[in-house]
Amino acid sequence: MSKAIEVTNLVKRYKELVALDHFNLDIEEGEIFGLLGPNGSGKTTTINCILSLLDYDKGEIKVFGKNMRPNSYDIKKDIGVIMQNVAVFDELTVYDNIDYFCGLYIKDKKTREKYVEEAIEFVGLEDYKKFLPKKLSGGLLRRLNIACGISHKPKLIFFDEPTVAVDPQSRNKILEGITRLNEQGATIVYTSHYMEEVEQLCTRILIMDRGKNVAMGTKEELKKMIKNTETITVEIPLLEEKHIAEIEKLPHVYEVKYDNNRLTVCYSGGKHNLVRVLEYFQNNNIGFGRVYSELPTLNDVFLEITGKELRD
Amino acid sequence: MQVFKLYMKILNKYRGQIIMYIGIFAGLMFGFILPSTDNNGATGFTESTVKYAIFDYDNSVISKGIGKFLKDNHEIVEIENDEKETIQDALYNQKIHCAIRINEGYEEDNLEGNGKDSLEIYRINGTTKSVLMEEDINSFITIINTYLGAGYDSKEAVKLALEAQKVSVKVNLPEGEDTSGQSAVQFFFRYQPWMFIAMCVCGITPVLIILDKKNVRERIECSSYKFSKMNLEIILGVLVTGFAICALFSVAGVIVFHSEMSAMQAVLYIINMFCIMAVALAITFLVGKLTTKEQVVSLLANIISLGMAFLSGVFVPIELLSDTIIKVAHFLPAYWYELAVTDIINYQSDKLARIIQYMGIQVLFAIAIVIVGVAVSRKRLVNKSA
């Protein structure tokens, strides 16, 4: 499989601040690639550099194997971008907006008409063709924003936090759409700080923090990188110190915490961990309330690698 | 005072507009009006003299007489030659208002009654200056010809005609009346309606629009801040801005013109200034309710300020306005401001009551405009909720 994007040793400074610090990235064609990181970690900066909107200090960027420049029109025509901020003309209707942006790529009028209709259908705005953006709700506006970015059937599509401030219904619709686009053959680059979305959607994920590549791989690979495989939380009104020490000795347990009437047990590997801990309670006549068992999330991955929460 | 502070902070971002107007005004005052003001306080550019160039190829008694007559009454300007191009260039660059050519043989031609053909006046069609010049020359030559016709020789005719030009009718003016044209003081005060309205609308309205934005307003409304207190603080902010501008102009006016006005005149000028400022601020408020687009604000500011200036005698003296316009102007606050200025210039104690009346009318206008503004904003709210 050939590479859609190759970024090598990218450095970008905003005066004193180093936004991207020798950043590397490879994206294969056909992937849904997730860029995950907290706000200000450099996701959007990365994308803008790749799109050659931003000047960078060092490094090399190749898109479809060719060097990307502001006037690389042959590359640009295959790229679609859905930006964080809604970028449409307030003065134009839904249809005209899509037609305008599509027209920047597709010269043939017949093809364009077809593409615009398809884009409208794709985001489900058939009933709103004649509406001005002002009249659309936040979610519909986002969908219009997407339609404007994909109407020309690009081979490489960037989604920069497309679901910020979007209602759950529109959000699902957007995520489904992204999957469909991928199925139709487009390579997707998706940035977000919602790890659930990234987990659900992406085939490969890159976690970044402070402009650096923190970890990269499929979600399974990422999760393997960390010690934690399972966390069990039990609500217990009263627990003596000696039991905590005992629980720590159970197999595969590497950390036990007890505060606020909650017992948290972290496991590294092992099976039937939940059964074992419940057995222990029963044998020692310890009354307990609710029990949760959680598999590690990307947040745990991020937490363990950087020592910070993904979302603060 | 949170809202007041907020107002000031945003205003600070728009101070450029206000400073720009003050700059333009100061530039006009110091770079242009004051330097061209002679000792008597009259500005040079309102004089009724015509700048002309003359080419006398006849060199006769009469042609020289015409030259002397023109020199006595108008301003002679040298230009290189009398080729058409040169004359056109001089006219174009406003170096001269007209050029006069007296051809060889003029005196004889004139005696035969054909003087017309040998005396040429080059000018631009329709300018007042050229009309003035043509009338002057015509009158002078007619008098010469009358003397010639009555049997005088050229020399005597020219001499007597020049004497006849000195005839004048004495005009008695009440004591202390300003007899000159527009003085620098007058310029300073007359132009203020234009300045103030343009400056306030451009500078303050955008701030009001920002404070009036739906989500900003709603956020402030949600806080524990009282609605009325918020409005009061915005009003306070606007008033402070107006006061500051007036104070600046008052101080500048008093410093520059202290020798040209009495204490009473100064006080009245300043009060009058505050009155028109009230009007300007009211308009500022109204414009803020009429539009939310800054681009439109600049256009509106210019339409209102220039329009009012033209119709109320700021740019064009009230006397030159037609009766119909003066009737219309009664509905424009700047007109009353100008009337007050006219009375203050020729201040006499018996005019005081009238001046105060003019000021009162301006204040009433300000109040009326504010009421319209409130009505407009009410109507908008109703429309929104409907």
Binding site: L53, L54, D55, K77, N85, A87, E91, L104, C148 | G16, M20, I24, G27, F32, S36, F45, Q88, Y92, N93, L119, I121, R123, N125, G126, T127, S130, E134, N138, T142, I143, N145, T146, Y147, A150, V167, S168, V169, K170, V171, L173, P174, D178, S180, Y191, E294, Q295, V296, L299, N302, L306, G307, L311, F315, V316, L320, S322, T324, I325, V328, T342
Partner: protein, 374 residues
């Protein structure tokens, strides 16, 4: 691609009804105000007869005869005289029932309240009659037989000169105010252009960012925006021209050439706005700079207060050759002053050349479309 951009640029501008409306209202409203302000100067009814009080101090037959002439009913009536006692006359003057008191005496004189325009007119008229009296008197003393002929000569109103115009145009002061309106409204097109150019820059708006990503050169985008705005502004100027013509403003013969001035004027305003927008990224700041430069240029071009342009001509003439506001107004003058088109063409060409230069600079500024920060 160019046409696509052009079409949508037109569409977005026209949909912005509020802006279009006020851009159109600006010259029309100012034109109307100005027309109303000078309305009476257009029609030749320069003044209505001036009411005066006449007080006879001592007899002066010739002067009284003069006053009678001036008071003759008809179109040329200059004064409406009321003969009354000095006290009554003073009262009338105080109450502003009359403009002036004329005293009949050996040496007649007037009294007015203030030095008004009407007072000046009265004074001039009286002086003119006094001159005639002097001339007739002189001749009467020396050669009484010729008096009849003298009076005939002096009142015949023969034109004593040939007036040569340098062209057919009409150039009264009042028309020049309308030229000023055109110049200002052309320059104010910069505001719309300024806003437009922000929408094509990645570092000025999200919309700009998206447009930067398309496989199109900036050149095409900028030129399409420029031409669409030019078309709209030109139409606005033409509407204004038509409106003012219907209103009765005399713009002379050269309508086609005037339209050409408007076209180039609009083009300089727009390209100026584009350049300011390209250089100053902050939308508010950029708009402020636009308005400031428009006003500054207008003031320098005498559009608000007369006389500055002349001072500049004396001291730094080059400024008058490049100030777009001056060039627009001067192009109109050139039509009225010259019978050749050299100066007109030079002005128009300067405007056109500057427009192109500004656009080229703007494109160069915008083309380097990799930004240090967004």
């Amino acid at each position: 691609m160019f046409f696509h951009n052009f079409k949508y640029s037109l569409k977005t501008t026209l949909k912005n009804k509020n802006t279009i409306f006020w851009t159109l209202i600006f010259p029309i409203a100012l034109g109307t105000f100005m027309y109303l302000a000078f309305g009476n100067l257009f029609e030749d009814e320069m003044f209505d007869a001036i009411p005066v009080s006449v007080v006879v101090e001592s007899e002066n037959k010739t002067f009284e005869e003069t006053l009678k002439q001036l008071d003759k009913k008809g179109e040329d009536r200059i004064i409406i005289a009321t003969y009354e006692s000095k006290e009554k006359a003073k009262k009338s003057l105080e109450d502003e029932k009359v403009e002036a008191i004329i005293y009949v005496d050996d040496k007649p004189y007037m009294e007015v309240l203030s030095n008004s325009f009407k007072a000046t007119v009265l004074k001039t008229v009286l002086e003119e009659y006094e001159k005639v009296n002097k001339v007739v008197g002189d001749i009467g003393e020396k050669n009484p037989l010729n008096i009849g002929k003298a009076v005939e000569t002096i009142t015949a109103g023969v034109q004593q000169y040939t007036s040569k115009t340098t062209s057919e145009g009409n150039q009264d002061v009042y028309t020049s105010f309308f030229y000023a309106i055109f110049a200002m409204s052309c320059l104010f097109a910069a505001l719309t252009a300024n806003q437009k150019v922000h929408s094509i820059q990645a570092n000025a708006s999200a919309l700009g960012m998206r447009r930067c990503l398309s496989p199109n050169s900036k050149m095409i985008t900028v030129v399409a925006e420029f031409l669409s705005l030019l078309l709209i502004q030109f139409v606005i100027e033409l509407i204004t021209l038509g409106y003012l013509t219907v209103l009765g403003v005399d713009f002379g013969e050269h309508y086609f050439l005037i339209m050409l001035v408007l076209l180039f004027g609009a083009s300089i305003g727009i390209s100026l706005g584009i350049l300011i927008g390209a250089v100053v990224k902050n939308e508010k700041k950029s708009e402020g700079i636009c308005v400031a430069s428009m006003l500054f240029l207008s003031v320098l071009a005498d559009l608000m207060i007369g006389g500055i342009k002349y001072t500049i001509e004396q001291k730094v003439p080059i400024l008058n050759r490049i100030n777009p506001a001056t060039l627009i107004a001067d192009s109109f003058y050139a039509l009225n002053i010259y019978d050749t088109y050299d100066r007109y063409i030079r002005n128009i060409a300067t405007l056109g050349g500057m427009s192109i230069a500004l656009i080229v600079i703007s494109v160069l500024v915008l083309r380097r479309n990799k930004y240090a920060s967004l």
